[in-house]
Symmetry: C2
Subunit: 278 residues, 2 copies
Amino acid sequence: MGFVAFIGAGPGAADLITVRGARLLAQAEVVLHDALTDPALRELAPQARWIDVGKRGFCDSVAQTSINALLVRHGRADRRVVRLKGGDPSVFGRLEEELEALLAAGIDCEVVPGVTAAIAAAAATRRPLTRRGSGRSVSLSTAMTAVAGPRPAAGAPATHAAGPLRATRTADTEVIYMAGKQLAALGRQLAQAGWPADTPVSVVSRAGWPDQIHSDHRVETLAGAALLHAGRPTVVTVGAGARPVQAAAGHDDAAAIAAVPTPSGAARTPPAPRARNP
Amino acid sequence: MGFVAFIGAGPGAADLITVRGARLLAQAEVVLHDALTDPALRELAPQARWIDVGKRGFCDSVAQTSINALLVRHGRADRRVVRLKGGDPSVFGRLEEELEALLAAGIDCEVVPGVTAAIAAAAATRRPLTRRGSGRSVSLSTAMTAVAGPRPAAGAPATHAAGPLRATRTADTEVIYMAGKQLAALGRQLAQAGWPADTPVSVVSRAGWPDQIHSDHRVETLAGAALLHAGRPTVVTVGAGARPVQAAAGHDDAAAIAAVPTPSGAARTPPAPRARNP
């Protein structure tokens, strides 16, 4: 009886899906997909029926119930179902509700992890989220949260309301998802949470896409990013992980590099000399 | 002049690398790789020279200097170099030092993100790190940290010392990397940080591998995980993200599923009260 593979599609560009995810897509009969995934992903599963269950433009809680029901219906029909989610399913992906529905229906499933947006933004800007000495912890949170509290009962009228924007200073690097619409408010909140006004803030929208935009700010000037990233999926990185990496002093010493210390004494063949291009 | 691709190999199993990472590996001439990556990854680049620069068994800081120098040497030799790192390069991957060395040497590079261990463990156990209502933030930190302070100068004698174990309660879900050797101490630290004694803790070693081990604990009984996961790469998840997902009540109503509600809001069966997790 049916099987659902939850697959993290990665942050956008189709080739940031995992090899496992791509393989399972190629075997899918039905693909329920979010709005944000790269259309090129379709080429990985031309045989499948693709159903857009992206939540844009209508109420989240109603949409979630529909998605759950679609998963169960297709799973029960004994189809190989893929639920393709942007980024990673376990990070701000509403995975719990969908797993709950499948468990209740007795449908087996697998979760294939993906590259989450925080990590994609770090890679695209070459700014590691952790830094030796100064960046020992990373926090992932979201600026767009429903009001905390008990989940509305299924069937109850949708009570979707944006919760208060919450910005904290609990880690050396804070990454805030879905902040695109609230950059000015976020800057104020970060200052109130104790981040110094000159703390670096790196803002990336559509990380890893050809039309990626990256801009550098400080906590006190974050509002200036609002227009630039308007209407685009945006990740905001604050603190240690937002700093540009600087060239090391001393590392371009030719003698030191030629001497490369051998860690364990294990013999390594020195690479064959090869003509270097000018 | 040379080019280095930093590639996140994912948490272990070779097919959790990204499609982009796999493609770049296939073009590599030299691969500098960590100790933890799946040997099956070699099949993606049989043409390349594979150099193990894993840090096991010798001093980290000396090893890091060697790795930096090797990257620069091979980059300068105009080779297509891949630096293959376990998990994601930007999360506890010591990426900054290597980028600094390449920048100093004027060698261009790219960072290809990967699946980090926290996310792989969540997927393997089907326990999302974020949960609607109860899991709005995730913290990534490590139990194994060098003493904070200025980095030793390049070439200086290694002054590697394990820093104090630090456990916090700053997010709804805390994930602690590299905790395998300190599980008993970690349990005490988590209690001191304010986590209730009965907070669920999920421990996963070798996430996503055939020999993965997963065990459930509470903060007060975490010490009991030590023997089970001894000597294995281990990720510890605490709080909201550690709870097993429970079957939803009401979602297996056949009529409701057949009727798949439309986004505008069809009637749904209210669920029975949700069971609390132990």
